[in-house]
Each structure stands twice: as structure tokens, then as C-alpha cells.
């Protein structure tokens, strides 16, 4: 096992962690502020991927198509999330966790079949734009450009989130709502606007994750199921509602899995559960404090 392989595997794992982070950041944000387990988060991610595919295909799968898809898909998913929040979620904010979860689960079922109706069952694929194709040499091993791209996008998103939450007025209100909803209401701040914003932002992140992953994989039904397990594990490990926790656990999961693949490739499927299991036994309430 030479250094080049270890290093390249580390960076690949890190780039995977970035996708995990983008998706689970949205999920943990929704947890923290709205206190809702959004099972539909994976479905939003899947819709993001499908829309990215459609936009890209509309432009002949060329380079403009990719960047436009990256712009449009998260926005569309954000809009869908807003509709869901205003149209359905807001009626159940005061209800049981179970009711809230089952509502989001119903959306998973509905979205699954709607995607089938709209896009059909055939496997779809989206092209990586020319500028990001191929790989480059990293100390003797090769790293695909697209993975390097993800390594840039991830921290940018993390930085953007941090700026939003700690520097903007709305962001600070979001954090306050996560910590003490009643107090925010008492202070006369419109908490419903906060909820709508946060849910829409979570949806935007999910859509972005889907759009980013789309060129590297097959776009098909069942995508939502495969990401949601990872996202939940990461959010639980990191601390419900804690974005930095989501970042740390995403990195641990991505890099951990990458190294696991290097050393125990025969049973790679179990690695995420082992990582989650070990971390949860060590710190059952999450690595970082929940609800920031």
C-alpha cells in the first residue's frame, strides 16, 4: 500500500464526504430548527438528480447544460420544498413526532411513484462537462477532476451556511428558533417565516446534492433509499441539528468508508454501520452538541 494510493484514497473519501455533508446538512438543519425528521429528504435529492438530468438533456448534455442544471435543480427542489412546507407541514407542527415523520414518509411514497410517472423507468445518465472530465496525477495516483471539484464545492457550501447562520439576521433567528422556539415567538418574530426558510434551504441543499451526484452515477428510482440511510446515520452521529457535527461525521464516514474499501474490500457494505455503531456507542447523543 503505497503513499500515493493512501493519499488519493483519502481525497476521494473526502470528496464523497462532501456530498454526504451537503445532503445531511439540509437534513440536520431541518431537525434542529423545525424538529422534524424529514424522510422525504432522500426523495428531494432524487428529484434534484432527475431535474438536473432533464435540464442537462434539454441543452444536449453539453457543458452549459451541466452548470445550468446545477443552478436550476436546487432551485426547483427548493420551490417544491416550500410548497410542501406551506401546503402540508405547517399544519402538523404541533403534533407528535410520529405524525410528522409519517407525513414526510407519505411524501416519499408519493414522490417515488410520481418520479416513475414523469420520467419513466429507464436508467438515465448525465454527462460530466468537458472541463471536469478525466483525472490528474496526484503523487503517482490519479484523482478524477470531478472529485476535486466536489472538494471545492463542499467547503464553499459549508462556508456559505456558516455565514448565513452566524452573520445574517435571518440566520441568527434560525439558530435562536432551534434553541428556543417559544422565546422567539414571544419576541414577536414570525416563526412561520423561519420554518419556511429553513425547510426551503434544506430542500435546496438536497437538490444540490442530487444535482452534484447526478453526473457520476445512474439516475434511477431507488436513489432516495440509498442516500437517506447514510444521511440519517451521519446526522445522528454528528448530533441532531448540529451542522458542524454533520460536517465532521460526513468526513469521518466518507474517509472511513474509503479506507475501509482499501483494507477490507470484501465486506465494504457493512462499513457505514460499523462506523455509526462505534461512534454511537462511544457518544450516543452525537459527536457534537445537538441543536447548536
Amino acid at each position: 500500500m503505497d503513499f500515493a494510493t493512501l493519499a488519493s484514497q483519502f481525497f476521494i473519501g473526502l470528496s464523497r464526504g462532501m456530498i454526504f455533508f451537503i445532503v445531511s446538512a439540509g437534513l440536520t438543519l431541518i431537525f434542529g430548527v423545525l424538529r422534524i425528521t424529514n424522510f422525504a429528504h432522500g426523495a428531494l435529492y432524487m428529484i434534484g438528480a432527475f431535474i438536473a438530468y432533464s435540464v442537462s438533456t434539454l441543452f444536449g448534455q453539453g457543458p452549459y447544460g451541466f452548470w445550468l442544471a446545477l443552478l436550476v435543480a436546487p432551485l426547483v427542489v427548493m420551490f417544491v420544498s416550500l410548497v410542501i412546507e406551506r401546503g402540508l407541514l405547517r399544519f402538523i407542527y404541533n403534533r407528535d413526532h410520529l405524525i410528522q415523520m409519517l407525513l414526510t414518509y407519505s411524501l416519499v411514497l408519493i414522490a417515488g411513484d410520481l418520479v416513475k410517472i414523469i420520467w419513466g423507468t429507464e436508467y438515465k445518465s448525465m454527462d460530466i462537462p468537458n472541463v471536469l472530465r478525466g483525472s490528474f496525477n496526484l503523487w503517482g495516483a490519479s484523482l478524477p477532476w470531478y472529485n476535486a471539484f466536489l472538494l471545492i464545492v463542499g467547503p464553499v457550501v459549508a462556508l456559505g451556511l456558516w455565514l448565513f447562520l452566524s452573520k445574517t439576521h435571518l440566520g441568527k433567528i434560525c439558530r435562536a428558533t432551534a434553541t428556543d422556539r417559544e422565546m422567539v415567538d414571544v419576541l414577536g418574530i414570525n416563526s412561520t417565516r423561519v420554518f419556511a426558510t429553513v425547510f426551503a434551504l434544506g430542500g435546496w441543499l438536497a437538490g444540490l446534492g442530487g444535482a452534484l451526484i447526478a453526473p457520476t452515477t445512474t439516475i434511477s428510482m431507488g436513489m432516495d433509499a440509498s442516500i437517506i440511510i447514510y444521511a440519517f446515520l451521519i446526522v445522528v452521529i454528528g448530533g441532531l441539528g448540529n451542522i458542524w457535527g454533520a460536517l465532521i461525521s460526513s468526513i469521518i464516514m466518507g474517509v472511513g468508508e474509503a479506507f475501509g474499501i482499501l483494507f477490507i474490500p470484501g465486506v465494504a457494505i457493512i462499513i457505514p454501520y460499523i462506523i455509526a455503531g462505534v461512534l454511537l456507542i462511544l457518544r450516543p447523543s452525537g459527536l457534537l452538541k445537538s441543536a447548536w
Binding site: 500500500m1 503505497d2 500515493a4 494510493t5 488519493s8 484514497q9 476521494i12 473519501g13 470528496s15 464523497r16 456530498i19 448534455q61 407528535d96 417515488g112 411513484d113 416513475k116 423507468t121 429507464e122 436508467y123 438515465k124 445518465s125 454527462d127 460530466i128 472530465r133 478525466g134 483525472s135 495516483a141 490519479s142 478524477p144 470531478y146 472529485n147 451526484i213 457520476t216 452515477t217 445512474t218 434511477s220 428510482m221 431507488g222 436513489m223 433509499a225 440509498s226 442516500i227 468508508e257 474509503a258 474499501i261 482499501l262 474490500p265 470484501g266 465486506v267 465494504a268 457494505i269
Partner: protein
């Protein structure tokens, strides 16, 4: 949480009684038995996965089957009716639908299902209820292998055949150090196991360097490819399918693996794999493939493709062929048996040879497995389009599993 309220059994029992009454009412209204003296059509109950990632195969099989049924009716042959049920890729739903189809719909034949576990479960029920089951979706070699019996047939090549064909192709190369990989489910393991056991027999010098198994539905293959690349095998042999196949091929191209290390994967040059990849298909990937609409370039294949295109506005893929063969075998068997009696039809199906788009196909008498040729070749860009190139055909005799081995496994 709501507070618990006390019981009022009367209301609950009332509800249950109404429920039972409703069931009784619908139970009494079971499907009428045919009273006509003319030949009643053979009814086929199809259980398949019309939801989820594997749905594309189920719809291909169904369309192929429907075409065969239509052709049979147009030629004045036996009439075949069918109904479909969705098992959502869950074997427990496959069995419960099978029971509904047999007991309530009173079908004569069962057919389907893409989920191998579902196929095995339904096959078991078919054996007990003596209703013949045509598998055109499940690829586990156990279906006509150790778990096979009189009431199950398979009209698609299974993992034993795929493995043997792949071994045959690889034995003609000079690769010695092999890295095995695939999707971590029964199909992936079965293809690789069959391939490896056949390859070590054909080419005793091969050496297994290592194994890598990724979860089904993996989105990013880069870490796996990177790890395998560092091991520097002579060839990477991959057992995967479905959505994973397209994603894997994409990653091979994106990482440039195909330029460093030869790769083998079943269906690598199948249009279903290449079409979504566009111009991002990895050249040079070896593979075997059961069916191509442009190879062999025979009259039968052309006729089939044209008829399919006319009916469904797309070219037929492999699963369409399997469904088509299922329907055609059934139609021919009914004609040969001269009756709609299930047992007579089974007898007629055993050893039956028919003309298909890939040439002559036979349902082997001993294991009820269809014997058709398989092609092998390599992915290449021909006239600007990615397709299978350097194609050779393996006869069915070269790739079918040994009957002795199957009979021995069954008797255990």
C-alpha cells in the same frame, strides 16, 4: 401522545364483523368458470417488479411477452390471456400474489419475476400447487439448478451460463492475475463464483489477487476503482448489473481505468448499458451479452426488431427477448400438446425447440433451462457510436451448465 381511552368492544367487533361479511361477499363472487365448449384460453398470471429500479426489465419482459401472444393469435394459434401483479421487488409480495393468481384468478401458468429470491419463492409455491412457472427475470442459477423441478422453466440465461461464457472469453486472453469485484448481492456473487470456477478449470494458471464488493445502489465507485488500481491486476472481472452497471461503467471512463487495466463485465456493450452513457462509454471493456438487436444480423432478428419497434416504438432489449421466448414457448407448447391441460403443456415444453431472434432455442428436458447462444466482444467506437465490436458467438453447448451436476445437486 394521546391519552388511552377505554375499550368498547362492541364497536370494534362490529367493525370486524362487517369486515368479515364484506370478505364473504367478495369471496362468494369468485371468477366464473368457462362454460363454453370451445377451447378456453390459457391464462397466465405475471408477477414482476413494476416499481423501483428494476422496473425497466419488467416492462421489457412484459412487452416481449405481449408481442409473442399477439403473434400467436394473429397466426390463428392458441389464445393466451394474462394479468399482471406488481411485487415491488419484495419476495413476500411475490408469493402472496402468486397465491392470489392461482387461487383466485385461477391462472394456468405463472410467469415473472426479476427478483431472484422472488423467483425461488414462487417456484416453490408453483411446485406445491402444480402450476407451471415460467421465469423470465430471475437470473439465479438455483432456479433451474438445485432448486429446479418439473413446474419451473427459465427462458433467460442464468448466472451459471453467464459465468461459463465469461470464463470462456477470458480463457482466450493472456491475463493471469485476476481481481474479482461486484455488487454485494446474490447475482453479483453468483456470476463471479461461476466464472471463477469455470476459469480455473479452463486456464489453471490464473491467480485471484483479491475481491471487492460494493453495496447495491452505490453511487460513487471512485474509491473502489482507486483501491483496485493500486493492486495492479492483469484484469478486473466485475459481476454487477442494473443501475450499478451503468454507474460503474461511467466511473471506469471517468477514472480512466479502462486505459490502464482491462475490465470484464457482463452486458458491457448492451445498448441498455451504452445508451445512457452517451459518449462517455469506456472503450475496450470486455464482456458477454445475451442479446443485441443488431447481432446476429439474421432475418429472424430483423423481423423481431421491426415488429417490436412497430408495437412499442423502441428497440428490444435482452429482457424483451426473454419475455418473448416465454410467450412463444408457451404458444408452441400448447399447439404441440393440442390441449390446455397444464401437465400436457409441460410435457410438450420439455425439450421443445423453437425459432427465435437469436436462432434455435431449446428448453432442456432435464432442467427446463433455455439454451441459446451468447455473444462476447468488446466496447468500441464504430462510426462514431459506441457499440459491441469484435463479436463472437458461443454456442449454447459451450456455456450450458452440466446436467449431471444439476441432477446431483437436486437429489441432495
Amino acid at each position: 401522545m394521546v391519552r388511552m381511552v377505554g375499550k368498547k368492544k362492541s364497536l370494534i367487533r362490529l367493525g370486524s364483523i362487517l369486515l368479515i361479511t364484506a370478505l364473504m361477499a367478495s369471496g362468494c363472487g369468485s371468477s366464473p368458470s368457462p362454460t363454453k365448449t370451445e377451447e378456453k384460453p390459457v391464462k397466465v398470471g405475471i408477477i414482476d417488479t413494476y416499481t423501483g429500479g428494476a422496473a425497466v426489465y419488467a416492462s421489457d419482459s412484459l412487452d416481449g411477452f405481449k408481442l409473442a401472444v399477439k403473434e400467436s393469435a394473429d397466426k390463428g394459434g392458441p389464445k393466451i390471456e394474462f394479468v399482471t401483479r406488481d411485487d415491488e421487488f419484495k419476495p413476500d409480495k411475490s408469493t402472496s400474489w402468486a397465491k392470489e393468481l392461482v387461487m383466485r384468478e385461477q391462472v394456468d401458468f405463472l410467469a415473472g419475476t426479476t427478483n431472484s429470491a422472488g423467483s425461488l419463492a414462487v417456484s416453490q409455491y408453483a411446485k406445491e400447487s402444480k402450476v407451471p412457472f415460467i421465469v423470465w427475470g430471475g437470473m439465479s442459477d438455483k432456479i433451474t439448478g438445485e432448486a429446479g423441478h418439473r413446474y419451473v422453466f427459465s427462458t433467460l440465461p442464468n448466472t451459471a451460463i453467464i459465468g461459463k461464457a465469461g470464463a470462456s472469453q477470458l480463457s482466450k486472453t493472456s491475463y493471469q492475475k485476476v481481481w474479482l469485484a461486484g455488487s454485494d448481492y446474490e447475482y453479483g456473487h453468483s456470476v463471479i463464483n461461476n466464472l471463477w470456477s469455470n476459469l480455473t478449470t479452463l486456464k489453471p494458471g490464473v491467480e485471484k489477487m483479491g475481491e471487492t464488493w460494493w453495496r447495491v445502489g452505490e453511487t460513487d465507485f471512485t474509491p473502489y476503482i482507486n483501491a483496485i488500481r493500486s493492486a495492479k491486476p492483469d484484469v478486473l472481472v466485475v459481476g454487477t448489473g442494473g443501475a450499478d452497471m451503468v454507474a460503474f461503467m461511467k466511473a471506469v471512463k471517468a477514472t480512466g481505468l479502462n486505459q490502464e487495466i482491462p475490465v470484464w463485465a457482463h452486458t458491457s456493450y448492451d445498448p441498455a448499458t451504452l445508451r445512457p452513457l452517451g459518449d462517455q462509454a469506456p472503450e475496450g471493456v470486455l464482456g458477454t451479452n445475451p442479446y443485441l438487436f443488431n447481432y446476429p444480423d439474421t432475418a429472424e432478428n430483423k423481423a423481431f426488431v421491426d415488429a417490436f419497434k412497430k408495437e412499442y416504438n423502441r428497440e428490444p432489449a435482452a429482457f424483451a427477448l426473454y419475455g418473448y421466448m416465454g410467450g412463444k414457448f408457451l404458444g408452441e407448447a400448447i399447439k404441440k400438446a393440442g390441449s390446455t391441460d397444464k401437465e400436457k403443456i409441460i410435457d410438450a415444453m420439455e425439450g421443445l425447440t423453437i425459432d427465435t431472434p437469436v436462432g434455435k432455442a431449446t428448453l432442456r428436458k432435464e432442467d427446463h433451462q433455455v439454451a441459446i447462444p451468447m455473444s462476447y466482444g468488446v466496447v468500441a467506437k464504430v462510426n462514431g457510436i459506441f457499440t459491441g465490436n469484435d463479436l463472437h458467438t458461443l454456442n449454447s453447448e459451450e456455456i450450458m451448465p452440466s446436467i449431471d451436476a444439476i441432477l446431483k445437486a437436486r437429489s441432495k
